[in-house]
């Protein structure tokens, strides 16, 4: 299996739901806690596995706004694993998830320098590196309903812009999406081999315009309408005597 995420940039509105859901699940997860430093002070910061960035592309008024969630790409050939001096960083053979064995990590930060995606962060409290686990503690948990055996970020996404699955299976939803929407990996041109895929924004929908009317002046237009019959044939009539429908006034609510 080659597990990873597909993120749809066409519908990502940058709402941060995925980032906070990730934080919430993982702070009690397999590499928790995810600490917060100075949480009520001058420089609030903390450990996040998933951060949403916002970019503007193009100049006004032809500008676009792109929201870009970034987390570990679970690279096929992970640079962070290569540089790990203790063997804490590894890529699971079974499913391709890149993880950090917290008992072997010494927090040297080499991996965060090697990772081009900024996906690895140092936990200043534990002194270890931490990162996205693809919610390995959710996806195989048979105590959860099957539909919920997904990463927390995927489960919560209000625009359903995040998808999780097996890229080794050409029939999987993620493989199909990538094929249909020409999903791309980030920085592949620089020699990295990310598993996660981004779906580019769709082409803007095009709609035809109703034909412009060949009419005279607006005054003529109004005159033409005056006293005209209803545009369509009279609707099948109910053969009933006209009577005023239930009272329009007089009744008030208690």
């Amino acid at each position: 299996m080659k597990l990873g995420l597909v993120i749809d940039l066409d519908t990502c509105v940058g709402c941060q739901a995925c980032a906070v859901a990730c934080k919430q699940w993982n702070t009690s997860g397999t590499t928790g806690a995810l600490p917060d430093y100075d949480p009520y002070g001058a420089e609030p910061s903390g450990l996040w596995f998933n951060r949403v960035r916002h970019y503007e592309v193009g100049d006004f008024p032809a500008n676009r706004t792109v929201n870009f969630p970034m987390s570990c790409m679970h690279c096929e050939d992970a640079a962070c694993v290569d540089v790990c001096p203790t063997g804490a960083s590894y890529k699971r053979a079974e499913d391709g998830i890149v993880l950090i064995d917290q008992d072997k990590c010494m927090g040297c930060n080499y991996c965060s320098w090697a990772c081009p995606y900024g996906a690895r962060e140092l936990d200043r409290h534990s002194g270890t590196m931490k990162k996205c686990t693809l919610c390995v503690d959710r996806i195989y948990d048979t105590a959860l309903p099957e539909a919920e055996r997904q990463p927390a970020c995927v489960l919560t996404c209000p625009t359903h812009a995040r998808h999780f699955g097996d890229f080794d299976d050409p029939q999987s939803a993620v493989s199909q999406l990538v094929a249909q929407r020409r999903g791309e990996g980030l920085m592949e041109d620089l020699g990295y081999a990310p598993v996660n895929r981004y779906l580019p924004p769709r082409k803007s929908a095009q709609v035809a315009s109703a034909a412009r009317s060949e009419g005279g002046s607006l005054l003529d237009r109004l005159k033409g309408w005056m006293g005209r019959q209803n545009r369509s044939a009279t609707s099948p009539s109910a053969s009933q005597t006209a009577s005023q429908p239930a009272s329009e006034s007089g009744e008030t609510e208690a």
Partner: protein, 985 residues
């Protein structure tokens, strides 16, 4: 995911120590269903995970950033701990308190309120913020007998609600939804993200996957605008003009839904044309008082309900008594075909070019009329006509505060509804669909109470829908009866009240002084007011004898807000996870377009401090005060607390707060006897109730016989007659006649009122310059002296927040900037991240600037309510929210720019009293050019609030978890196979 575990994984979660409970989120107007997993680590339960309830009709399992941050809301160090009294001798606003017991607090409050109720109930004003229990608080105020109650709608988006309810019988807000499954064209107007956040996100995804075109009209390209197919960077305050110009295009090209207008609106009704005479502009009526139309079949007059008479849509006629008449549609065409609404003219003001205006109108016409959809479900209309199918015009719209919060907002909102009506795109497949109890008759038949008497409940709710000057809450001399001047000549259709005027009016004694103000969840000393700095001074203002001008201030809230520091008495509320609650059809229900829904909250964790749910406090106070609905003949409480009240109280026979599982055995839906086990049934069902409408009742409900009969049985509508949409508003015309001195009933005497009624109560929407711009122009202040529009919005992770102390969310943003178009900034020589002064005629603030592309060049904007007072919300004195964040509110006066000789008039929409806080205009200049001034912080600055008694200091660090992490070890075989470092393939 995987059927089998690929390897032996450790047991990460101790499910035996966990349980799940459903309840309802309470951080914005969505009210999503949530499932809370709790875990007992041996030291009591903690929240493991809050997720969207997959079965819930509102959010179908998804959850936003705020909902996901509920743990940190629950963990907040700013939670109030116990009732507090302002320390004797300390100054109001200094934030010095002493703890008192609940008994003491309620005894003191009861004594004070009892005296008020026995003498002059209007001496109590009770205003609430973004609460979701207005049916309960309104009931309470009504039982108390004070007219002075409202929620924050007057500050938020009443223009949108009122325009809808006086025009189509439904509205945007969360009172309806685009038909996301069938729509092909979606136009979103203005800042609209927060009503309703998750449903719109779910819908946009569906809509885009179906290939629809999404057009966003908004001066700023953030949020949903990011994924729009086309973005129109409109000049703020001109949305109505844009809509009217599109109406011009539809008319000029003969592209409007003739049949829809004839059948479902008052377009064919006849308007008397006798300018300057009594009766001008009213509808011609027959003997039974029903409006008349001109029958082309009979060549004579016929009542509007004679559906076979072939009414003329256009035409000029003469009444039997000789008065000239025109059909409504004729007046409409004359208005909008005029050159002032042509795209070429509108383009200059809106900042959208004429070709684009014309193209978009014709695109909508194309989709509505050339791409109509048909749903093959037979239905019967109110007149008994049988239809084989539902015809859909798949153009949907949504609009909210961006259009609403202007002083021309009511007419602008009405114009958007006109566009929908001309396209025949209301409550039909693919268009905007009402959610039950909407649609309702125009307007809903509830009149605002307008008299108060000692020890007597009001005759009805304090808020309602006037239809004529007789319905105003004014004294014989025309002066307002309400402290906020709602339903006075200054704001006749103030359906949500004018919370934003309450403090100013009470302190100025205009129209009178009051004794006690109760605020619930309303941060009126900070972001929920206009003119914040001066409002704080007003709260501290004293009479010559040293007493406060606003004698007694009670604040009920769950957190240490800026408002708390001004309280004389603080009543601490629970968090949303610690309470019972109802999200009721009597209030702002959570219905879906095709289902009647409501829901509850249940406590999922026990409070760990001396706090009480506000609704419990209200029920107890009401019983102590002897409210007739809450005590029996001997004065004893009728109900054993809030839950019992909800179970047994009936608004009308069979109708209560909760619609589900009524009847003694829970056998009835919507109407039925009280069910003693109703709360339990909700809890068993995930805390919500959903009643699906049968297919033949799902569209055209304004005219759908089966639905209308159902809506009457359900108590949504008073009768089952058709809901006739009003292009022409006779209600507005009656007020205009009063302004002109031509009305047979109450009329204003003040010149300003006469002029405002005559000008703005136009029965057809028109565009006008915002009132503050007009006032400044009268004073010789050119618009170019304040060249920028200044508006604000909430970031998605703080939508509708009444707090931003959340330890996780503030890591995403703890400082707001002033955003400006990059090219415009360059032209002004302003650099990114520099400090600037922003100045309005009301004052100036110093803020930090950011330049961006996605912004109308004449507009600056910021994220609202991120700026905070140091010490409030558990924040340290050097928190960025306090040091560098800011509120735009200081720049926005609650009164129009004063001028000698002019009356003091609210800075609000002249029709509804909606706070016009998006009308703000400013000038901007560098703040670092003054010698010696090294700006590093925002101005004005406010002193740090002291901690409250019993509050623990905010922690320096957090490492929240419910259990120790179970590490997933790297298998030894993997290490041996690849070595310590991963070996390249």
């Amino acid at each position: 995911m995987a059927e089998t575990r690929p390897t032996d994984l450790p047991q990460f979660e101790n499910h035996a120590a966990q349980r799940q409970a459903e309840t309802t989120c309470y951080m914005c107007a969505c009210r999503c269903g949530i499932r809370v997993t709790l875990e007992d680590d041996g030291e009591g339960e903690k929240i493991r995970f809050i997720q969207g309830n997959p079965d819930h009709p509102v959010n179908r399992g998804v959850l936003c950033a705020k909902g996901n941050a509920g743990i940190m809301k629950q963990m907040s160090p700013a939670k109030l701990q116990q009732p507090l009294r302002r320390k004797p001798g300390s100054e109001r606003g200094a934030g010095e308190f002493e703890p008192i017991s609940w008994d003491e607090a309620l005894d003191e409050l009861t004594a004070r309120l009892k005296h008020i109720r026995q003498t002059d109930p209007n001496q109590l004003a009770f205003f609430t913020g973004r609460d979701q229990m207005q049916a309960l608080t309104g009931f309470w105020a009504s039982q108390f007998g004070t007219l002075n109650w409202a929620a924050h709608g007057g500050f938020c988006s009443v223009n949108m609600a009122a325009a809808g309810l006086y025009t189509t019988g439904q509205s945007f807000w969360e009172f309806g939804d685009p038909d996301w499954d069938n729509a092909k064209y979606f136009m979103m107007w203005g800042v609209a993200e927060d009503h309703a956040s998750n449903p719109i996100k779910i819908g946009l995804d569906k809509f885009k996957r179906n290939g629809g075109k999404f057009v966003a009209v908004n001066p700023v390209r953030t949020g949903y605008q990011a994924i729009a197919d086309e973005w129109l960077p409109i000049r703020p305050g001109t949305d109505g003009l844009l809509a009217m110009s599109m109406i011009h295009v539809l008319l000029a090209n003969d592209r409007f839904d003739w049949d829809f207008l004839v059948r479902y609106s008052n377009a064919t009704q006849l308007v008397v044309q006798t300018p300057g005479e009594a009766g001008d502009g009213l509808l011609l009526r027959g003997e039974d008082d029903a409006p008349l139309v001109w029958s082309l079949r009979e060549e004579g007059f016929a009542p509007w309900y004679d559906v076979d008479c072939q009414p003329a849509l256009f035409g000029e006629y003469t009444a039997p008594d000789g008065r000239p008449l025109k059909t409504v549609m004729t007046l409409l065409a004359e208005r909008y075909l005029a050159d002032e609404y042509s795209p070429a003219v509108a383009a200059k003001e809106c900042g959208i070019d004429a070709e684009t205006i014309e193209r978009l109108a014709l695109e909508m016409a194309h989709v509505a009329f050339e791409e109509e959809i048909v749903i093959d479900t037979p239905w019967v209309d109110w007149a008994g006509r049988e239809h084989d199918n539902f015809i859909g015009r798949p153009v949907a719209m949504h609009a909210m505060r961006g259009v609403s919060a202007h002083s021309n907002g009511f007419q602008a909102c009405r114009a958007i509804h006109f566009l929908q009506m001309l396209l025949g795109a209301i409550d039909c497949p693919g268009s905007h669909l009402a959610k039950p109890p909407f649609p309702r008759h125009l307007p809903p038949p509830i009149k605002p109470a307008n008299s108060a008497a000692p020890d007597t409940p009001l005759s009805g709710p304090p808020l309602g829908f006037p239809t004529a000057p007789e319905d105003l809450a004014i004294n014989a001399d025309g002066s307002p009866k309400r402290i906020d001047k709602a339903y006075s000549w200054e704001a006749p259709l103030a359906n949500h009240g004018l919370m934003h005027m309450t403090i100013r009016n009470a302190v100025a004694g205009d129209p009178y002084s009051i004794d006690t103000l109760i605020l619930f969840m309303a941060n009126m000393a900070w972001n929920s007011t206009m003119n914040t700095a001066e409002t704080r001074d007003m709260l501290r203002a004293k009479n010559e004898d040293g007493s406060y001008k606003l004698p007694f201030l009670v604040v009920a809230d769950a957190f240490h807000s800026e408002m708390v520091s001004f309280a004389d008495l603080v009543l601490p509320d629970t968090t949303y996870l610690e309470r019972h609650d109802t999200i009721s059809i009597l209030d702002r229900p959570i219905s879906e377009p095709h289902a009647v829904c409501d829901s509850i909250r249940q406590p999922v964790i026990e409070p760990d401090r001396d706090v009480r749910p506000w609704q419990e406090v209200l029920i107890e106070l009401g019983a102590r005060l002897g409210f007739p609905a809450l005590v029996d003949g001997s004065g004893q409480p009728k109900f054993d607390g809030y839950c019992d009240f909800i179970t047994r109280w009936e608004k009308a026979p069979g109708i209560g707060f909760l619609a589900g599982w009524r009847g003694e055995e829970g056998e009835s839906s919507i109407v039925g006897a009280p069910n003693p086990n109703q709360w339990e049934r909700y809890k068993e069902n995930g805390c919500f109730f959903e009643y699906s409408l049968p297919p033949q009742q799902r569209y055209y409900r304004f005219a759908n016989r089966d639905y209308l009969e159902f809506s009457k049985r359900a108590g949504f509508n008073a009768h089952s007659g058709p809901i006739v949409m009003e292009l022409y508003s006779e209600t507005l015309q009656k007020f205009r006649l009063a302004g002109q001195g031509l009305y047979d009933g109450p009329m204003p005497t003040r010149e300003e009122d006469k002029q405002r009624l005559t000008t703005y109560f136009d029965p057809l929407p028109f565009h006008y310059m915002p009132l503050s711009d007009q006032r400044m122009a009268e004073q010789g202040i050119d618009r170019e002296q304040y060249p920028f529009h200044a508006v604000n919005q909430r970031p998605m992770f703080m939508y509708h927040s009444w707090d931003s102390q959340n330890a996780w969310l503030r890591q995403i943003n703890a400082q707001n900037y002033l955003y400006m178009n990059r090219q415009r900034g360059r032209e002004m020589g302003l650099k990114d991240l520099s400090w600037v002064w922003v100045e309005s005629h009301n004052g100036r603030i110093r803020v930090q600037l950011k330049l961006m592309e996605g912004c109308n060049p004449d507009t600056v904007w910021t994220w609202n309510a991120i700026g905070k007072q140091a010490g409030a919300w558990g924040l340290s004195k050097d928190a960025p929210e306090a040091k560098r964040g800011f509120l735009m509110n200081h720049l926005i006066p609650e009164l129009l720019p004063p001028d000698a000789g002019q009356a003091e008039i609210t800075n609000s929409d002249p029709i509804t009293g909606q706070a016009a806080w998006y009308d703000l205009r400013v000038r901007i200049y560098a703040a670092d050019d003054a010698p010696g001034e090294a700006a590093q912080s925002s101005a004005p600055e406010f002193a740090e609030l002291p901690p409250l008694p019993g509050a623990s200091p905010s922690p320096d660090a957090l490492g929240y978890k419910t259990h120790d992490a179970v590490n997933l070890e790297r298998p030894i075989a993997d290490v041996l196979g690849k070595g310590a470092t991963g070996e390249k393939k």
